[in-house]
């Protein structure tokens, strides 16, 4: 096949068959890989959790420690996610609606938590609030507990989920442009009215998308939280930490039962994420982009 002109029909037919076989091979290879690499671990969680039967499964979950870990995980997510939503909206408004020096530096700084190891993230707060940290002596004098207490867990979670909402909103709002908001301002709307009536309805899906990602990460965060938590059962163990403690006590069925709750949360996350992508066009190739380029 080295001719420069049109190929003879037999060669074209051969090429088309080759292509079809190649496609089948690649699709099957990808599917087999994903089944072994991603589906098996999920299946293993549920199989292990149910290995002693449903009774044992529900008994493992209705443990006071597991339930209190579940409550703490929910509490931490309910504090850290809204904080990062407000930050994400503020940052993307400033970045996409105004020109200022150092904008690209700011965008890079927002990404830092994604690059930092979760363990290092936790350690940073120990350096500040821990007993030997900057504010440690002052805090212990006033009987305030941040490290090995709930505030530290919240801080560590805020850090690791910091960029998620902003990273969704910035490209989305950039692509959308500010024409509608400018029109609203010209017609006399004030800032809050513009935000609630124009911006928020426009960005709601992207906002929700980022929020879901942040929520999923805040529920599942392990490394950062593990450093600041102190692992006090019933008080400072989130659900992922409870999984670790049960596992290290060789209580495997209970560990996998608790893990199955987290796995269900992950599956719900994926379903919601895909649903938003399909219904709202968030994270789908934008037609306008192609027209512009």
């Amino acid at each position: 096949m080295s001719g420069r002109g049109a190929l003879p029909p037999s060669a074209l037919l051969r090429a088309s068959i080759q292509q079809r076989v190649g496609r089948m091979v690649l699709i099957v290879a990808a599917l087999v890989f994903l089944a072994v690499f991603l589906v098996l671990p999920v299946a293993a969680v549920f199989t292990q959790a149910l290995s002693q039967g449903w009774k044992m499964y529900s008994d493992s979950i209705y443990q006071e420690d597991v339930l209190s870990a579940l409550r703490l995980t929910g509490l931490v997510a309910c504090i850290s996610v809204p904080l990062n939503m407000v930050f994400g909206i503020a940052a993307s408004w400033a970045i996409t609606r105004f020109e200022f020096h150092g904008k690209s530096l700011l965008i890079t700084l927002i990404d830092i938590p994604l690059a930092v190891s979760p363990v290092v993230a936790g350690l940073m707060y120990v350096e500040i609030f821990g007993l030997h940290g900057w504010l440690g002596p002052w805090l212990s004098e006033h009987n305030l507990h941040i490290i090995f207490a709930v505030p530290g867990i919240v801080l560590a979670t805020v850090f690791v989920t910091f960029p998620f909402v902003a990273r969704e909103l910035i490209p989305f709002m950039q692509a959308q442009g500010s024409d509608e908001e400018v029109a609203a301002v010209v017609l006399g709307a004030n800032g809050w009215n513009v935000f609630w009536r124009v911006t928020l309805p426009n960005i709601k899906w992207a906002l929700l998308y980022g929020t879901i990602l942040a929520a999923a990460r805040s529920i599942g965060e392990f490394g950062a939280v593990s450093v600041v938590s102190g692992h006090i059962r019933g008080q400072t163990t989130t659900l992922p930490l409870e999984v670790e403690m049960l596992y290290n006590e060789y209580n495997f069925t209970a560990a996998f039962a608790a893990a199955s709750l987290l796995t269900l949360a992950a599956i719900v996350t994926l379903v919601l994420k895909k649903t938003i992508e399909l219904t709202s066009g968030v994270h789908q190739p934008v037609e306008e982009k192609e027209v512009q380029s």
Partner: protein
């Protein structure tokens, strides 16, 4: 260009061409900067200052002690191989998702993000269960003398699990944008599969693949939750750097922990810089083409 952001904000109502008529610049940029400083910048500074206070000699001594060096070898070696595995598998999956349609494609596409969504501790215990001696996969590997759980191989498996989506999500949009007509043109001019891949697809997809692989490597090098269960955590053999930081903390060796964390941060920032350079390079190249 308006020089100062503040003057621009003040000129809000003047409708000058470059300034924005929209309100809220000072409020939002103020909140953004304060929040960023409190949550990210001050804590980062705290750890870097602690490292700096040690003095260069002590710092160097701490971060190059034999056990720490061994942990770098394990972490970086496994992360490099894991990133490579993620690159290959990620490229395959991205290609199949971008180019072919098949039943259940949406489910498969959603599934790719599972490692992002699944808590790392869950991934860790689940992979350990799979690859242990009596696990679903381990029982077929053990008779052949392949030990995955509690060896560097297990660390690689966990690391490529968490890094894999980064490659797919970086490469997939680029492949979707690439017009199949380009390949068809190459094919009609007589290019074979390999030539089409290396001459048409690879040059376009390469920066994205490099970005995705770098992100996968960064994630793998910093990974903790999914690795510690499967690693076995033998000092000098299967002990990762992140775990060593935790161990130092548990021994109340805050100085040692901060020094090693400083070394890890240096690595994180280097990778971030690399990714930014790649993106800047791509933008410049795209700019030239248009």
């Amino acid at each position: 260009m308006v020089k100062m952001p503040k003057t621009e904000a003040r000129k809000t109502w003047s409708l000058a061409t470059r300034s924005s008529p929209l309100p809220g610049f000072r409020l939002t940029i103020g909140f953004t900067l304060i929040y960023l400083t409190v949550i990210v910048l001050i804590p980062l500074t705290a750890i870097l200052l602690h490292g700096a206070r040690l003095g260069f000699g002590v710092f160097l001594h701490t971060v190059t002690s034999p056990r720490v060096l061994a942990s770098y070898r394990v972490t970086l070696g496994c992360a490099a191989i894991a990133a490579l595995l993620s690159a290959i598998s990620g490229m395959l999956v991205a290609w199949v998702l971008a180019r072919y349609s098949f039943p259940g494609k949406r489910i498969v596409d959603a599934l790719v993000d599972l490692p992002f969504a699944l808590p790392t501790a869950v991934a860790g215990i689940s992979l350990t269960a799979l690859y242990a001696e009596n696990g679903w996969i381990g029982r077929y590997l053990e008779p052949h003398g392949i030990h995955v759980a509690f060896t560097p191989l297990g660390i690689m498996m966990a690391m490529s699990f968490v890094g894999f989506p980064f490659v797919v999500r970086s490469v997939q949009p680029v492949l979707e944008d690439l017009d199949p007509a380009m390949e068809e043109a190459a094919a009609s001019l007589g290019a074979n599969v390999w030539q089409r891949f290396t001459r048409v697809i690879a040059p376009v997809a390469f920066p994205a693949l490099l970005t995705g692989t770098a992100l996968a490597f960064a994630r793998a090098a910093g990974e903790y939750g999914s690795v510690i269960f499967i690693a076995g955590n033998m000092p000098m053999k299967t002990e990762i750097t992140a775990l060593l930081i935790v161990t130092k903390l548990e021994e109340y060796d805050y100085t040692g922990a901060a020094a090693i964390a400083g070394a890890m941060l240096a690595l994180s920032f280097t990778i971030m810089l690399l990714v930014n350079v790649i993106q800047w390079w791509v933008q410049r190249r795209e700019g030239k083409r248009v």
